[in-house]
């Protein structure tokens, strides 16, 4: 048994998201080989070699991997998959974009977004926005799997001492090219790994009012999230969206403010340890999953909460 993991990185450093896939690979068993494909990615390859559980790193340093273009990466991963029983990536937007292309090139099914490894062939994955959990068994020669980060603790970034081997690139397909990006800048923790998340919904009324949530976030060391309605209305950027079709989070504390609790939203946060809901409608479905529900006008309760946290 041997697993090839597609590692995300910034060329200088590895992305913490990939550490979750290492844990899933360790549960599957056997060798864990990290692929670091990039342009000037020696720093990331060296960092991957230190990850506990990684037995070998393949570094492919070539211009065509400077951006995570699926058309260039998928043939490389498919080629390197040979001899491995499993190919894994974390189910980030990068992993979701590339891995099905790899699976199709290998003519195998992909098992998306697993939350549990039952055995080397059998995995549990949520379907229907997490309203059902399916256990599926694959008999494909190579199992292509994406891993839901929140269900696998990150592997330790230090402690390993894997060897780094150089691999060669497959060239640029010329099918696509990177034009630019507009990334949200924030000094707060990353949404999917934050210990505390405070999210706002349509009830926030506008983007300006999210400042109230940011104030609390800064007091709690929290990340700020949102419902789809808040993103659609332009209150906050798309990368704030928590839910079935946005990000999945499972912090120690999730505070939902002015969010009704549609199943699509619950799909992204109902595995949080403690859920707080602030909503003026006592019938709002969010209260059914909340450990602590506060029926109140958020424009009164949120400033009060902010003040109370100063004293707490």
């Amino acid at each position: 048994m041997s697993t090839l993991i597609f590692f995300e990185h910034t060329n200088d450093a590895i992305s913490p998201a990939s550490l979750h896939a290492v844990t899933a690979a360790t549960q599957i068993g056997g060798d864990v080989v990290a692929l670091v494909a990039g342009s000037g990615c020696d720093g990331a390859a060296q960092a991957a070699a230190k990850v506990a559980g990684v037995t070998k790193v393949i570094k492919v340093d070539s211009a065509e991997y400077g951006h995570t273009l699926a058309e260039n990466l998928a043939p490389l991963i498919a080629k390197l998959a040979e001899g491995h029983s499993h190919v894994l990536a974390t189910a980030t937007t990068v992993g979701k974009n590339i891995m099905p292309r790899v699976a199709a090139l290998l003519d195998v099914a992909q098992v998306s977004d697993i939350i549990e490894v039952v055995d080397a062939d059998t995995f549990v994955r949520p379907i229907y926005a997490g309203n059902a959990l399916a256990t599926v068994k694959s008999s494909d020669a190579t199992k292509v799997v994406t891993v839901r980060g929140t269900n696998f603790d990150p592997a330790a970034a230090e402690g390993g001492s894997a060897s780094v081997e150089d691999g060669s690139g497959e060239g640029d397909t010329g099918l696509s090219s990177f034009v630019g990006q507009e990334l949200s800048k924030s000094d707060r923790p990353e949404l999917t790994s934050a210990k505390v998340v405070i999210s706002g919904g349509r009830g926030m009324q506008n983007g300006e009012n999210f400042k109230m949530l940011e104030e609390i976030a800064d007091k709690l060391g929290a990340a700020v999230g949102a419902s789809r309605a808040a993103v659609d209305a332009g209150f906050v950027p798309n990368d704030y969206q928590v839910g079935q079709t946005g990000k999945v989070v499972a912090p120690d504390l999730y505070i939902a403010v002015g969010i009704s609790g549609a199943i699509q939203h619950l799909a992204g946060m109902k595995d949080s340890k403690v859920i707080v809901a602030i909503n003026k409608d006592e019938e709002a479905p969010i209260f059914q999953v909340a450990d602590y529900g506060l029926v109140a006008d958020l424009f009164k309760a949120v400033p009060e909460l902010s003040e109370a946290l100063d004293k707490a």
Binding site: L105, A132, A134, S138, V196, D239, L253, G293, A296, A308
Partner: protein
């Protein structure tokens, strides 16, 4: 430019699904079915391209049971020109769907295929990428903006960190994200007109594809229930509970 839009019939997003007692799947009998919402966005985008004079024809394709015809009719009522129905009962996985769509692409030679980024039933998020791989085409997934250029497309994508813009060569596969557009409702006259639009039928075998699933579903169960529902009286009680009971702040 010819645009192909695959559409899937799924349990309506408002339905609370129930797991079958025998753990073989979820209850589909007497449940409201609709077009996958991401596919509605795909149909809308294709129609807008046609209205803008950029697309010449929009073809809606569905792979599914007899009733999938209704889903195709919905696309036709929104404004698609004609339909293709690959009649197939039972589960079909993204890889098999991609193979069937490849067969249709080879027959129809579209310049662009727009798919939903994921179906809200199996939540796989695979078909567009797989189709792109099988065809050796470019792919632009999770699109929130599409600009048609000369022989290429510039697509803005929703990614974990924010937005990314890429340029892809035509012919291309694009998958839709929520912010690409707001799909229209079909008007009554258009629903009537759609009844006369042609739908061609074929079988997986006609396309040379074996639709048998590769994955075996061992069981389908309900997730563990969350015990919620406790209310607090005010902010002071909330803070005290979070501090002393839950110990999370």
């Amino acid at each position: 430019m010819k645009v192909l839009v695959p559409v899937k019939r799924v349990i309506d997003y408002n339905v609370k699904v129930r797991v079958k007692a025998d753990q073989s799947g979820v209850e589909l009998a007497n449940v409201k079915m609709s077009m996958n919402p991401f596919d509605e966005i795909a149909v809308e985008e294709a129609i807008r391209l046609k209205e803008a004079g950029k697309a010449t024809e929009v073809i809606a394709v569905s792979i599914g049971p007899t009733q999938a015809q209704e889903t195709i009719r919905t696309a036709l009522a929104m404004g698609a020109d004609r339909g293709i129905h690959v009649v197939h009962d039972g589960d079909v996985e993204p890889l098999a769907v991609a193979k069937m769509l490849k067969g249709i692409v080879e027959k129809e030679s579209p310049d662009l295929c727009i798919l939903g980024k994921q179906a809200i039933d199996d939540d796989c998020n695979q078909t567009g990428q797989m189709l792109s791989a099988l065809l050796g085409w470019s792919q632009a997934t999770f699109a929130s903006k599409i600009e048609i250029g000369d022989g290429d497309l510039t697509v803005t994508r929703e990614v974990d960190g924010g937005l990314e813009t890429i340029k892809v060569k035509a012919p291309a596969i694009v998958t839709t994200d929520l912010r690409l557009n707001e799909p229209r409702y079909a008007s009554l006259p258009n629903i009537m007109k759609a009844k006369k639009k042609p739908i061609e039928q074929m079988s997986p075998a006609d396309l040379g594809v074996d639709p048998a699933p590769r994955l075996q579903t061992v069981k389908v169960v309900e997730p563990p229930k969350r015990e919620g529902g406790t209310k607090v009286a005010d902010v002071a009680e909330l803070v005290s509970k979070l501090k002393n009971e839950a110990k999370v702040i």
